[in-house]
Protein backbone atom coordinates (compact mmCIF):
# COMPACT_ATOMS: atom_id res chain seq x y z
CA UNK A 1 0.00 0.00 0.00
CA UNK A 2 2.68 2.43 0.97
CA UNK A 3 4.73 1.47 -2.06
CA UNK A 4 1.86 2.31 -4.39
CA UNK A 5 1.35 5.63 -2.68
CA UNK A 6 4.96 6.52 -3.24
CA UNK A 7 4.63 6.28 -7.02
CA UNK A 8 2.98 8.82 -9.25
CA UNK A 9 2.51 8.96 -12.97
CA UNK A 10 3.27 12.10 -14.84
CA UNK A 11 3.05 12.83 -18.52
CA UNK A 12 6.35 13.63 -20.04
CA UNK A 13 6.26 14.14 -23.78
CA UNK A 14 4.28 11.31 -25.31
CA UNK A 15 4.57 8.75 -22.57
CA UNK A 16 3.51 8.33 -18.95
CA UNK A 17 6.52 8.28 -16.69
CA UNK A 18 6.24 6.63 -13.29
CA UNK A 19 8.13 8.59 -10.68
CA UNK A 20 8.93 7.89 -7.10
CA UNK A 21 7.64 10.54 -4.70
CA UNK A 22 10.23 11.40 -2.03
CA UNK A 23 9.42 10.05 1.44
CA UNK A 24 9.12 13.50 2.94
CA UNK A 25 6.60 14.78 0.41
CA UNK A 26 3.09 15.37 1.82
CA UNK A 27 0.52 13.53 -0.27
CA UNK A 28 -2.80 14.54 1.28
CA UNK A 29 -4.45 17.36 3.17
CA UNK A 30 -3.83 15.49 6.43
CA UNK A 31 -0.16 15.12 5.49
CA UNK A 32 0.09 18.86 4.90
CA UNK A 33 -1.58 19.57 8.23
CA UNK A 34 0.87 17.24 9.98
CA UNK A 35 3.80 18.87 8.20
CA UNK A 36 2.76 22.39 9.19
CA UNK A 37 2.23 21.29 12.80
CA UNK A 38 5.63 19.59 12.94
CA UNK A 39 7.29 22.68 11.48
CA UNK A 40 5.63 25.01 13.99
CA UNK A 41 6.68 22.85 16.96
CA UNK A 42 10.13 22.48 15.41
CA UNK A 43 10.52 26.26 15.10
CA UNK A 44 9.23 26.87 18.64
CA UNK A 45 11.70 24.26 19.89
CA UNK A 46 14.74 25.53 18.07
CA UNK A 47 14.22 29.30 18.41
CA UNK A 48 15.06 29.62 22.12
CA UNK A 49 18.18 27.53 21.53
CA UNK A 50 19.28 29.70 18.61
CA UNK A 51 18.52 32.79 20.69
CA UNK A 52 20.73 31.52 23.51
CA UNK A 53 23.66 30.94 21.16
CA UNK A 54 23.36 34.20 19.19
CA UNK A 55 22.71 36.32 22.28
CA UNK A 56 25.71 34.80 24.03
CA UNK A 57 27.77 36.25 21.18
CA UNK A 58 26.35 39.78 21.44
CA UNK A 59 28.15 42.62 23.19
CA UNK A 60 26.82 43.29 26.71
CA UNK A 61 25.27 46.59 25.66
CA UNK A 62 23.14 44.88 23.04
CA UNK A 63 22.31 41.71 24.90
CA UNK A 64 18.75 42.60 25.83
CA UNK A 65 17.71 44.57 22.74
CA UNK A 66 14.76 43.52 20.63
CA UNK A 67 14.16 42.55 17.90
CA UNK A 68 16.45 39.63 18.57
CA UNK A 69 19.22 39.03 16.14
CA UNK A 70 18.95 35.50 14.78
CA UNK A 71 22.23 35.48 12.91
CA UNK A 72 25.22 36.47 15.05
CA UNK A 73 27.05 39.46 13.58
CA UNK A 74 29.48 40.68 16.25
CA UNK A 75 30.79 37.23 17.28
CA UNK A 76 31.82 38.83 20.57
CA UNK A 77 33.44 36.16 22.74
CA UNK A 78 34.04 38.43 25.73
CA UNK A 79 30.95 37.03 27.48
CA UNK A 80 32.52 33.58 27.47
CA UNK A 81 35.68 34.95 29.06
CA UNK A 82 33.71 36.88 31.66
CA UNK A 83 32.04 33.65 32.86
CA UNK A 84 35.43 32.58 34.20
CA UNK A 85 35.68 35.81 36.24
CA UNK A 86 32.20 35.61 37.77
CA UNK A 87 32.08 31.98 38.94
CA UNK A 88 34.76 29.29 39.46
CA UNK A 89 33.69 27.84 36.13
CA UNK A 90 36.62 25.47 35.60
CA UNK A 91 36.18 23.95 39.07
CA UNK A 92 32.43 23.64 38.69
CA UNK A 93 32.67 21.98 35.28
CA UNK A 94 35.34 19.68 36.71
CA UNK A 95 33.06 18.83 39.62
CA UNK A 96 30.21 18.05 37.25
CA UNK A 97 32.47 15.82 35.17
CA UNK A 98 33.81 14.00 38.21
CA UNK A 99 30.39 13.44 39.76
CA UNK A 100 28.71 12.49 36.49
CA UNK A 101 31.39 10.11 35.22
CA UNK A 102 31.72 8.43 38.64
CA UNK A 103 27.96 8.00 38.79
CA UNK A 104 27.84 6.52 35.30
CA UNK A 105 30.63 4.03 36.04
CA UNK A 106 29.13 3.21 39.44
CA UNK A 107 25.60 2.69 38.10
CA UNK A 108 26.91 0.51 35.28
CA UNK A 109 28.73 -1.62 37.84
CA UNK A 110 25.92 -2.07 40.36
CA UNK A 111 23.22 -2.47 37.71
CA UNK A 112 25.04 -5.07 35.58
CA UNK A 113 25.95 -7.15 38.63
CA UNK A 114 22.44 -7.10 40.09
CA UNK A 115 20.72 -7.34 36.71
CA UNK A 116 22.74 -10.46 35.88
CA UNK A 117 21.85 -12.18 39.15
CA UNK A 118 18.18 -11.31 38.81
CA UNK A 119 18.12 -12.67 35.26
CA UNK A 120 19.67 -16.03 36.23
CA UNK A 121 17.83 -18.52 38.36
CA UNK A 122 20.40 -19.57 40.91
CA UNK A 123 19.75 -17.64 44.06
CA UNK A 124 16.93 -18.69 46.38
CA UNK A 125 14.60 -15.79 47.17
CA UNK A 126 15.65 -14.01 44.01
CA UNK A 127 12.12 -13.13 42.87
CA UNK A 128 11.11 -11.69 46.23
CA UNK A 129 14.18 -9.46 46.27
CA UNK A 130 13.46 -8.36 42.73
CA UNK A 131 10.01 -7.16 43.74
CA UNK A 132 11.58 -5.15 46.55
CA UNK A 133 13.88 -3.51 44.00
CA UNK A 134 10.94 -2.72 41.71
CA UNK A 135 8.91 -1.36 44.62
CA UNK A 136 11.60 1.24 45.32
CA UNK A 137 10.79 2.70 41.90
CA UNK A 138 7.44 3.81 43.37
CA UNK A 139 9.08 5.94 46.07
CA UNK A 140 9.39 9.55 44.93
CA UNK A 141 12.95 10.80 45.29
CA UNK A 142 11.82 14.14 46.70
CA UNK A 143 10.09 12.46 49.65
CA UNK A 144 13.38 10.87 50.72
CA UNK A 145 15.52 14.02 50.47
CA UNK A 146 15.41 15.18 54.09
CA UNK A 147 16.39 11.79 55.60
CA UNK A 148 18.92 11.38 52.77
CA UNK A 149 20.52 14.66 53.80
CA UNK A 150 20.56 13.56 57.44
CA UNK A 151 22.11 10.19 56.55
CA UNK A 152 24.74 11.79 54.35
CA UNK A 153 25.70 14.48 56.86
CA UNK A 154 25.25 12.71 60.21
CA UNK A 155 25.96 9.04 59.43
CA UNK A 156 28.55 9.35 56.68
CA UNK A 157 29.84 12.85 57.47
CA UNK A 158 29.92 13.58 53.76
CA UNK A 159 27.88 16.79 53.59
CA UNK A 160 29.34 19.33 51.17
CA UNK A 161 31.54 16.75 49.43
CA UNK A 162 31.26 15.47 45.88
CA UNK A 163 31.07 11.95 47.28
CA UNK A 164 27.66 12.73 48.75
CA UNK A 165 26.36 13.33 45.23
CA UNK A 166 27.93 10.15 43.84
CA UNK A 167 27.24 7.71 46.65
CA UNK A 168 23.50 8.36 46.84
CA UNK A 169 23.16 7.85 43.07
CA UNK A 170 24.97 4.51 42.87
CA UNK A 171 22.11 2.06 43.52
CA UNK A 172 19.69 2.19 40.60
CA UNK A 173 16.48 0.20 40.55
CA UNK A 174 15.74 1.42 37.04
CA UNK A 175 19.17 0.41 35.72
CA UNK A 176 18.95 -2.98 37.42
CA UNK A 177 15.57 -3.58 35.80
CA UNK A 178 16.81 -2.41 32.38
CA UNK A 179 19.90 -4.64 32.39
CA UNK A 180 17.98 -7.61 33.72
CA UNK A 181 15.79 -7.35 30.61
CA UNK A 182 18.91 -7.49 28.44
CA UNK A 183 20.44 -10.43 30.31
CA UNK A 184 17.13 -12.31 30.03
CA UNK A 185 17.37 -12.20 26.25
CA UNK A 186 20.61 -14.23 26.21
CA UNK A 187 20.00 -17.97 25.99
CA UNK A 188 21.43 -20.26 28.67
CA UNK A 189 23.28 -22.36 26.10
CA UNK A 190 26.14 -19.87 26.15
CA UNK A 191 26.76 -20.69 29.77
CA UNK A 192 26.83 -24.43 29.11
CA UNK A 193 29.26 -23.97 26.24
CA UNK A 194 31.55 -21.82 28.37
CA UNK A 195 31.44 -24.35 31.21
CA UNK A 196 32.51 -27.05 28.77
CA UNK A 197 35.55 -24.90 28.14
CA UNK A 198 36.25 -24.84 31.85
CA UNK A 199 35.19 -21.28 32.63
CA UNK A 200 34.14 -20.55 36.18
CA UNK A 201 30.96 -18.64 36.99
CA UNK A 202 32.67 -15.28 37.23
CA UNK A 203 34.38 -15.73 33.90
CA UNK A 204 31.06 -16.68 32.35
CA UNK A 205 29.64 -13.38 33.55
CA UNK A 206 32.63 -11.25 32.67
CA UNK A 207 33.60 -12.70 29.31
CA UNK A 208 30.45 -14.28 27.90
CA UNK A 209 27.40 -12.42 29.17
CA UNK A 210 28.68 -8.92 29.92
CA UNK A 211 29.87 -8.15 26.37
CA UNK A 212 26.46 -9.14 25.04
CA UNK A 213 24.54 -6.53 27.05
CA UNK A 214 26.69 -3.63 25.80
CA UNK A 215 23.68 -1.92 24.13
CA UNK A 216 21.76 -1.95 27.42
CA UNK A 217 24.79 -0.53 29.22
CA UNK A 218 25.03 2.22 26.61
CA UNK A 219 21.40 3.20 27.23
CA UNK A 220 21.93 3.34 30.97
CA UNK A 221 25.17 5.29 30.54
CA UNK A 222 23.57 7.97 28.37
CA UNK A 223 20.49 8.32 30.59
CA UNK A 224 22.61 8.45 33.76
CA UNK A 225 24.96 11.03 32.24
CA UNK A 226 22.09 13.26 31.16
CA UNK A 227 20.28 12.95 34.48
CA UNK A 228 23.27 13.49 36.74
CA UNK A 229 24.82 16.31 34.74
CA UNK A 230 21.55 18.26 34.94
CA UNK A 231 20.75 17.43 38.56
CA UNK A 232 19.94 20.56 40.53
CA UNK A 233 17.96 19.82 43.69
CA UNK A 234 20.39 17.27 45.21
CA UNK A 235 23.46 19.53 45.07
CA UNK A 236 21.31 22.48 46.14
CA UNK A 237 20.66 20.65 49.40
CA UNK A 238 23.97 18.82 49.90
CA UNK A 239 26.53 21.44 48.88
CA UNK A 240 27.60 24.71 50.53
CA UNK A 241 31.00 25.63 49.13
CA UNK A 242 30.90 27.47 45.81
CA UNK A 243 34.09 25.88 44.48
CA UNK A 244 32.59 22.43 45.07
CA UNK A 245 29.33 23.18 43.24
CA UNK A 246 28.44 21.36 40.06
CA UNK A 247 27.80 23.66 37.13
CA UNK A 248 23.99 23.64 37.49
CA UNK A 249 24.37 25.50 40.80
CA UNK A 250 26.99 27.72 39.19
CA UNK A 251 24.51 28.86 36.55
CA UNK A 252 21.89 29.51 39.22
CA UNK A 253 24.39 31.75 41.05
CA UNK A 254 25.50 33.45 37.86
CA UNK A 255 21.93 34.39 37.02
CA UNK A 256 21.60 36.13 40.39
CA UNK A 257 24.95 37.95 40.04
CA UNK A 258 23.94 39.14 36.59
CA UNK A 259 20.51 40.50 37.55
CA UNK A 260 21.77 43.98 36.75
CA UNK A 261 24.55 42.98 34.36
CA UNK A 262 24.65 41.36 30.96
CA UNK A 263 22.47 38.32 30.38
CA UNK A 264 24.84 37.36 27.57
CA UNK A 265 27.31 36.15 30.18
CA UNK A 266 24.72 33.80 31.70
CA UNK A 267 23.82 32.49 28.27
CA UNK A 268 27.48 31.92 27.43
CA UNK A 269 27.78 29.78 30.57
CA UNK A 270 24.66 27.84 29.58
CA UNK A 271 26.14 27.12 26.14
CA UNK A 272 29.39 25.86 27.62
CA UNK A 273 27.66 23.82 30.33
CA UNK A 274 25.40 22.13 27.79
CA UNK A 275 28.14 21.12 25.34
CA UNK A 276 29.16 17.89 27.16
CA UNK A 277 25.58 16.62 27.19
CA UNK A 278 25.19 17.46 23.51
CA UNK A 279 28.39 15.54 22.70
CA UNK A 280 27.20 12.50 24.65
CA UNK A 281 23.87 12.78 22.85
CA UNK A 282 25.50 12.95 19.41
CA UNK A 283 27.39 9.72 20.11
CA UNK A 284 24.67 8.01 22.13
CA UNK A 285 21.55 9.21 20.37
CA UNK A 286 20.67 5.83 18.96
CA UNK A 287 20.82 4.21 22.40
CA UNK A 288 19.06 6.98 24.24
CA UNK A 289 16.03 7.10 21.96
CA UNK A 290 15.91 3.33 21.72
CA UNK A 291 15.98 3.07 25.51
CA UNK A 292 13.12 5.49 25.96
CA UNK A 293 11.10 3.79 23.22
CA UNK A 294 11.61 0.39 24.81
CA UNK A 295 10.14 1.86 27.98
CA UNK A 296 7.08 2.94 26.01
CA UNK A 297 6.59 -0.43 24.37
CA UNK A 298 6.81 -2.27 27.65
CA UNK A 299 4.03 -0.10 29.06
Amino acid sequence: MTVINRLSTRRRGDEDVVERIPDWMPRSAADWLAMVFMLIIGILTIMPIVWVVTTSLRTPAESFTVPPEWIPRDLYFGNYLQVFDEIPFVYQMGNSFFVTLSTVVGQLTTATLAGYTFARRYLPGRDGLFWVVLATLMIPYQATLIPLFIIISRVFGLADTLWSLILTALPTAFGTFLLRQYFLQIPGEYEEAAMMDGANQFQIFRRVYLPMVAPGMAILAVLAFNGKWNDFLTPLIFMNTTSRFPITLGINDLQRYMMTGSISVVLAAIVMATLPVVLVYVFGQRYLIEGLMVGGLKG
Binding site: D31, M38, P48, N200, F232, I237, Q255, Y281, M293, G296
Partner: protein, 317 residues
Protein backbone atom coordinates in the same frame (compact mmCIF):
# COMPACT_ATOMS: atom_id res chain seq x y z
CA UNK B 1 45.43 -16.69 21.92
CA UNK B 2 44.83 -19.92 23.73
CA UNK B 3 42.43 -18.25 26.14
CA UNK B 4 40.05 -17.47 23.28
CA UNK B 5 39.43 -21.11 22.51
CA UNK B 6 39.62 -22.52 26.01
CA UNK B 7 37.97 -19.88 28.06
CA UNK B 8 39.38 -19.77 31.54
CA UNK B 9 41.22 -23.07 31.51
CA UNK B 10 44.45 -23.06 33.45
CA UNK B 11 43.05 -20.26 35.63
CA UNK B 12 41.00 -22.64 37.75
CA UNK B 13 43.71 -22.69 40.35
CA UNK B 14 43.04 -19.24 41.73
CA UNK B 15 39.79 -20.46 43.25
CA UNK B 16 39.81 -22.22 46.65
CA UNK B 17 39.11 -25.93 46.47
CA UNK B 18 35.53 -25.74 47.78
CA UNK B 19 34.63 -23.44 44.89
CA UNK B 20 36.30 -25.52 42.17
CA UNK B 21 34.05 -25.77 39.15
CA UNK B 22 34.61 -29.44 38.37
CA UNK B 23 31.85 -30.74 40.62
CA UNK B 24 28.14 -29.95 40.59
CA UNK B 25 28.35 -28.76 44.20
CA UNK B 26 31.30 -26.54 43.32
CA UNK B 27 29.36 -24.87 40.50
CA UNK B 28 26.35 -24.42 42.76
CA UNK B 29 28.55 -22.79 45.40
CA UNK B 30 30.14 -20.53 42.80
CA UNK B 31 26.71 -19.37 41.73
CA UNK B 32 25.60 -18.72 45.30
CA UNK B 33 28.71 -16.73 46.18
CA UNK B 34 28.54 -14.76 42.97
CA UNK B 35 24.81 -14.10 43.35
CA UNK B 36 25.21 -12.77 46.87
CA UNK B 37 28.25 -10.65 46.02
CA UNK B 38 26.60 -9.24 42.89
CA UNK B 39 23.38 -8.29 44.65
CA UNK B 40 24.97 -6.73 47.72
CA UNK B 41 25.90 -3.30 46.28
CA UNK B 42 22.44 -2.68 44.86
CA UNK B 43 20.52 -4.09 47.82
CA UNK B 44 22.58 -2.29 50.46
CA UNK B 45 22.45 0.89 48.40
CA UNK B 46 18.69 0.77 47.97
CA UNK B 47 18.16 0.01 51.65
CA UNK B 48 20.44 2.81 52.86
CA UNK B 49 19.51 5.47 50.29
CA UNK B 50 15.86 4.71 49.41
CA UNK B 51 14.07 2.40 51.84
CA UNK B 52 15.57 3.68 55.09
CA UNK B 53 15.02 7.33 54.09
CA UNK B 54 11.34 6.80 53.30
CA UNK B 55 10.83 5.04 56.64
CA UNK B 56 12.72 7.84 58.42
CA UNK B 57 10.66 10.43 56.52
CA UNK B 58 7.42 8.89 57.77
CA UNK B 59 8.81 8.68 61.32
CA UNK B 60 10.01 12.29 61.23
CA UNK B 61 6.54 13.34 60.15
CA UNK B 62 5.40 12.48 63.67
CA UNK B 63 8.21 14.38 65.36
CA UNK B 64 9.19 17.90 66.18
CA UNK B 65 12.79 18.48 65.23
CA UNK B 66 14.58 21.71 64.52
CA UNK B 67 18.09 20.20 64.27
CA UNK B 68 19.50 21.98 67.33
CA UNK B 69 17.48 20.04 69.87
CA UNK B 70 16.94 16.27 69.75
CA UNK B 71 13.74 15.18 68.01
CA UNK B 72 10.72 14.67 70.24
CA UNK B 73 7.52 12.77 69.55
CA UNK B 74 4.84 15.16 68.39
CA UNK B 75 1.94 12.87 67.51
CA UNK B 76 -0.30 14.10 64.75
CA UNK B 77 0.38 17.76 65.43
CA UNK B 78 2.43 18.24 62.28
CA UNK B 79 -0.42 16.89 60.22
CA UNK B 80 -3.15 18.89 61.92
CA UNK B 81 -0.96 21.95 61.47
CA UNK B 82 -0.34 21.39 57.78
CA UNK B 83 -4.02 20.88 57.03
CA UNK B 84 -4.73 24.31 58.50
CA UNK B 85 -1.65 25.93 57.03
CA UNK B 86 -2.83 28.07 54.16
CA UNK B 87 0.59 28.22 52.48
CA UNK B 88 0.80 24.42 52.37
CA UNK B 89 -2.67 24.04 50.91
CA UNK B 90 -1.80 26.75 48.44
CA UNK B 91 1.37 24.92 47.41
CA UNK B 92 -0.57 21.72 46.82
CA UNK B 93 -3.15 23.50 44.70
CA UNK B 94 -0.38 25.25 42.70
CA UNK B 95 1.34 21.92 42.14
CA UNK B 96 -1.90 20.32 40.95
CA UNK B 97 -2.84 23.20 38.67
CA UNK B 98 0.59 23.32 37.05
CA UNK B 99 0.79 19.52 36.82
CA UNK B 100 -2.61 19.36 35.11
CA UNK B 101 -1.79 22.13 32.62
CA UNK B 102 1.64 20.69 31.85
CA UNK B 103 0.53 17.08 31.49
CA UNK B 104 -2.48 18.14 29.39
CA UNK B 105 -0.34 20.07 26.94
CA UNK B 106 2.43 17.45 26.96
CA UNK B 107 0.20 14.50 26.11
CA UNK B 108 -1.81 16.31 23.40
CA UNK B 109 1.27 17.74 21.68
CA UNK B 110 3.32 14.55 22.03
CA UNK B 111 0.60 12.29 20.61
CA UNK B 112 0.02 14.72 17.73
CA UNK B 113 3.74 14.87 16.99
CA UNK B 114 4.16 11.10 17.09
CA UNK B 115 1.19 10.52 14.77
CA UNK B 116 2.34 13.32 12.45
CA UNK B 117 5.92 12.19 12.14
CA UNK B 118 4.79 8.60 11.64
CA UNK B 119 3.27 9.66 8.29
CA UNK B 120 6.80 10.35 7.10
CA UNK B 121 8.31 7.55 9.12
CA UNK B 122 11.15 6.43 6.91
CA UNK B 123 12.30 9.77 5.59
CA UNK B 124 15.35 11.80 6.50
CA UNK B 125 12.96 14.59 7.48
CA UNK B 126 11.43 12.51 10.27
CA UNK B 127 14.90 11.95 11.65
CA UNK B 128 15.71 15.66 11.59
CA UNK B 129 12.45 16.59 13.31
CA UNK B 130 12.94 13.92 15.95
CA UNK B 131 16.44 15.22 16.70
CA UNK B 132 15.30 18.85 16.94
CA UNK B 133 12.36 18.13 19.22
CA UNK B 134 14.57 16.14 21.53
CA UNK B 135 17.20 18.89 21.98
CA UNK B 136 15.55 20.65 24.98
CA UNK B 137 15.59 17.36 26.92
CA UNK B 138 19.38 17.69 26.99
CA UNK B 139 19.24 21.05 28.76
CA UNK B 140 19.12 21.21 32.52
CA UNK B 141 15.99 22.54 34.21
CA UNK B 142 18.11 25.45 35.43
CA UNK B 143 19.32 26.40 31.95
CA UNK B 144 15.80 26.18 30.55
CA UNK B 145 14.35 28.19 33.41
CA UNK B 146 17.00 30.91 33.10
CA UNK B 147 16.61 31.12 29.32
CA UNK B 148 12.83 31.19 29.32
CA UNK B 149 12.64 33.70 32.15
CA UNK B 150 14.58 36.09 29.88
CA UNK B 151 12.35 35.28 26.90
CA UNK B 152 9.22 35.80 29.03
CA UNK B 153 10.42 39.18 30.40
CA UNK B 154 7.51 41.61 30.20
CA UNK B 155 9.37 44.60 28.76
CA UNK B 156 12.46 43.21 27.06
CA UNK B 157 11.40 39.64 26.36
CA UNK B 158 11.46 38.20 22.87
CA UNK B 159 8.04 36.57 23.31
CA UNK B 160 6.30 39.85 24.01
CA UNK B 161 8.20 41.53 21.19
CA UNK B 162 6.79 39.08 18.63
CA UNK B 163 3.33 39.26 20.21
CA UNK B 164 3.66 43.04 19.80
CA UNK B 165 4.43 42.57 16.12
CA UNK B 166 1.15 40.63 15.88
CA UNK B 167 -0.62 43.52 17.61
CA UNK B 168 -1.05 41.83 20.99
CA UNK B 169 -0.46 43.81 24.18
CA UNK B 170 2.42 42.95 26.50
CA UNK B 171 1.64 39.88 28.61
CA UNK B 172 3.01 40.01 32.20
CA UNK B 173 4.15 36.36 31.97
CA UNK B 174 6.11 36.06 35.20
CA UNK B 175 4.93 39.06 37.21
CA UNK B 176 1.19 38.44 37.23
CA UNK B 177 0.00 35.95 39.83
CA UNK B 178 -2.78 34.87 37.45
CA UNK B 179 -0.55 34.03 34.50
CA UNK B 180 2.66 32.84 36.16
CA UNK B 181 1.52 29.24 36.65
CA UNK B 182 0.73 28.99 32.96
CA UNK B 183 4.11 30.49 31.98
CA UNK B 184 6.02 28.06 34.19
CA UNK B 185 3.95 25.20 32.75
CA UNK B 186 4.81 26.35 29.22
CA UNK B 187 8.51 26.32 30.12
CA UNK B 188 8.17 22.80 31.50
CA UNK B 189 6.32 21.63 28.41
CA UNK B 190 9.08 23.10 26.28
CA UNK B 191 11.74 21.11 28.12
CA UNK B 192 9.83 17.80 28.39
CA UNK B 193 7.94 17.51 25.12
CA UNK B 194 10.77 15.62 23.38
CA UNK B 195 10.87 13.07 26.19
CA UNK B 196 7.13 12.35 26.17
CA UNK B 197 7.13 12.37 22.36
CA UNK B 198 9.73 9.60 22.20
CA UNK B 199 7.58 7.40 24.46
CA UNK B 200 4.62 7.90 22.12
CA UNK B 201 6.78 7.33 19.06
CA UNK B 202 7.54 3.87 20.43
CA UNK B 203 3.83 3.24 20.88
CA UNK B 204 2.84 4.61 17.48
CA UNK B 205 5.45 2.61 15.57
CA UNK B 206 4.17 -0.55 17.29
CA UNK B 207 0.54 0.05 16.20
CA UNK B 208 -0.82 -2.96 14.29
CA UNK B 209 -0.94 -1.79 10.67
CA UNK B 210 -3.41 -4.51 9.59
CA UNK B 211 -6.10 -3.20 11.93
CA UNK B 212 -5.58 0.41 10.84
CA UNK B 213 -5.75 -0.55 7.18
CA UNK B 214 -8.80 -2.74 7.72
CA UNK B 215 -10.48 0.20 9.44
CA UNK B 216 -9.68 2.42 6.48
CA UNK B 217 -11.13 -0.13 4.08
CA UNK B 218 -14.27 -0.25 6.22
CA UNK B 219 -14.66 3.48 5.80
CA UNK B 220 -13.17 4.83 9.05
CA UNK B 221 -11.30 7.93 8.02
CA UNK B 222 -9.91 11.13 9.43
CA UNK B 223 -10.99 12.11 12.93
CA UNK B 224 -13.35 9.15 13.19
CA UNK B 225 -10.49 6.73 12.64
CA UNK B 226 -8.28 8.66 15.06
CA UNK B 227 -10.90 8.65 17.82
CA UNK B 228 -12.33 5.15 17.37
CA UNK B 229 -9.32 3.14 16.21
CA UNK B 230 -5.93 4.81 16.62
CA UNK B 231 -6.29 6.30 20.11
CA UNK B 232 -7.82 3.14 21.65
CA UNK B 233 -4.96 1.11 20.15
CA UNK B 234 -2.54 3.62 21.63
CA UNK B 235 -4.21 3.70 25.05
CA UNK B 236 -1.66 1.49 26.89
CA UNK B 237 1.09 3.93 25.87
CA UNK B 238 -1.10 6.88 26.87
CA UNK B 239 -1.55 5.36 30.33
CA UNK B 240 2.17 4.68 30.70
CA UNK B 241 3.28 8.14 29.57
CA UNK B 242 0.62 9.95 31.60
CA UNK B 243 1.49 8.07 34.80
CA UNK B 244 5.20 8.83 34.35
CA UNK B 245 4.55 12.50 33.60
CA UNK B 246 2.11 12.96 36.48
CA UNK B 247 4.56 11.42 38.95
CA UNK B 248 7.42 13.57 37.67
CA UNK B 249 5.41 16.79 37.63
CA UNK B 250 3.94 16.36 41.09
CA UNK B 251 7.59 16.64 42.18
CA UNK B 252 7.98 19.89 40.28
CA UNK B 253 10.89 22.03 41.53
CA UNK B 254 13.67 23.22 39.19
CA UNK B 255 11.69 25.40 36.77
CA UNK B 256 9.47 27.28 39.25
CA UNK B 257 12.32 27.64 41.75
CA UNK B 258 14.70 29.22 39.25
CA UNK B 259 12.11 31.17 37.23
CA UNK B 260 10.10 32.74 40.04
CA UNK B 261 11.33 31.51 43.47
CA UNK B 262 7.66 30.77 44.05
CA UNK B 263 6.47 34.28 43.28
CA UNK B 264 4.90 36.65 42.67
CA UNK B 265 3.67 36.27 46.22
CA UNK B 266 3.28 32.53 46.60
CA UNK B 267 1.38 32.03 43.37
CA UNK B 268 3.86 29.56 41.83
CA UNK B 269 5.20 27.93 45.01
CA UNK B 270 5.10 24.15 44.60
CA UNK B 271 4.95 21.49 47.30
CA UNK B 272 8.58 20.45 46.89
CA UNK B 273 9.61 24.11 47.18
CA UNK B 274 7.55 24.27 50.36
CA UNK B 275 9.32 21.17 51.71
CA UNK B 276 12.70 22.61 50.73
CA UNK B 277 12.07 25.97 52.42
CA UNK B 278 10.56 24.43 55.54
CA UNK B 279 13.47 22.02 55.99
CA UNK B 280 16.49 23.98 54.84
CA UNK B 281 15.51 27.61 55.43
CA UNK B 282 13.34 27.24 58.56
CA UNK B 283 15.12 24.07 59.75
CA UNK B 284 11.81 22.44 60.72
CA UNK B 285 12.77 18.94 59.62
CA UNK B 286 9.81 17.19 61.26
CA UNK B 287 7.19 19.49 59.78
CA UNK B 288 8.86 19.39 56.34
CA UNK B 289 8.86 15.58 56.48
CA UNK B 290 5.14 15.53 57.24
CA UNK B 291 4.50 17.61 54.10
CA UNK B 292 6.66 15.30 51.98
CA UNK B 293 4.85 12.25 53.40
CA UNK B 294 1.53 13.75 52.30
CA UNK B 295 3.04 14.36 48.86
CA UNK B 296 4.21 10.73 48.76
CA UNK B 297 0.72 9.50 49.67
CA UNK B 298 -0.87 11.76 47.06
CA UNK B 299 1.48 10.43 44.37
CA UNK B 300 0.63 6.84 45.36
CA UNK B 301 -3.10 7.64 45.41
CA UNK B 302 -3.06 9.45 42.06
CA UNK B 303 -1.08 6.63 40.43
CA UNK B 304 -3.39 4.00 41.89
CA UNK B 305 -6.41 6.01 40.78
CA UNK B 306 -5.02 6.26 37.24
CA UNK B 307 -4.58 2.51 37.04
CA UNK B 308 -8.05 1.92 38.50
CA UNK B 309 -9.60 4.33 36.04
CA UNK B 310 -7.59 2.80 33.21
CA UNK B 311 -9.76 -0.32 33.33
CA UNK B 312 -12.47 1.83 31.83
CA UNK B 313 -10.55 3.28 28.93
CA UNK B 314 -7.33 1.40 28.28
CA UNK B 315 -7.68 -1.23 25.60
CA UNK B 316 -5.26 -4.15 25.68
CA UNK B 317 -5.14 -6.26 22.56
Amino acid sequence: MASETTLGSGRRNWLPAWLAGDTVQGIRRQRMVLGVLFLLPTLIGLIVFVLAPIVVAVALGFMKWNVFRPPEFYGLKNFTRLFQHELVGNSFSNTFVMMAMTVGMLEVFAISLALSVHRFARSRLAYIFRTVWFLPVLLSGVSVAVTLSYLFHTDFGVVNYYLGVLGIDKVPWLVSSDIVRFSVSLATVWRNLGFTFIIYLGGVSALPQEILEAATVDGARGLKRLWLITLPLLSPTILFATVIDVIRLLQFFDEPYVMTRGGPGDSSRTTVMMVYDTAFANLEFGYASSISVILFLIILAVTGFQFLLSKRWVFYQ
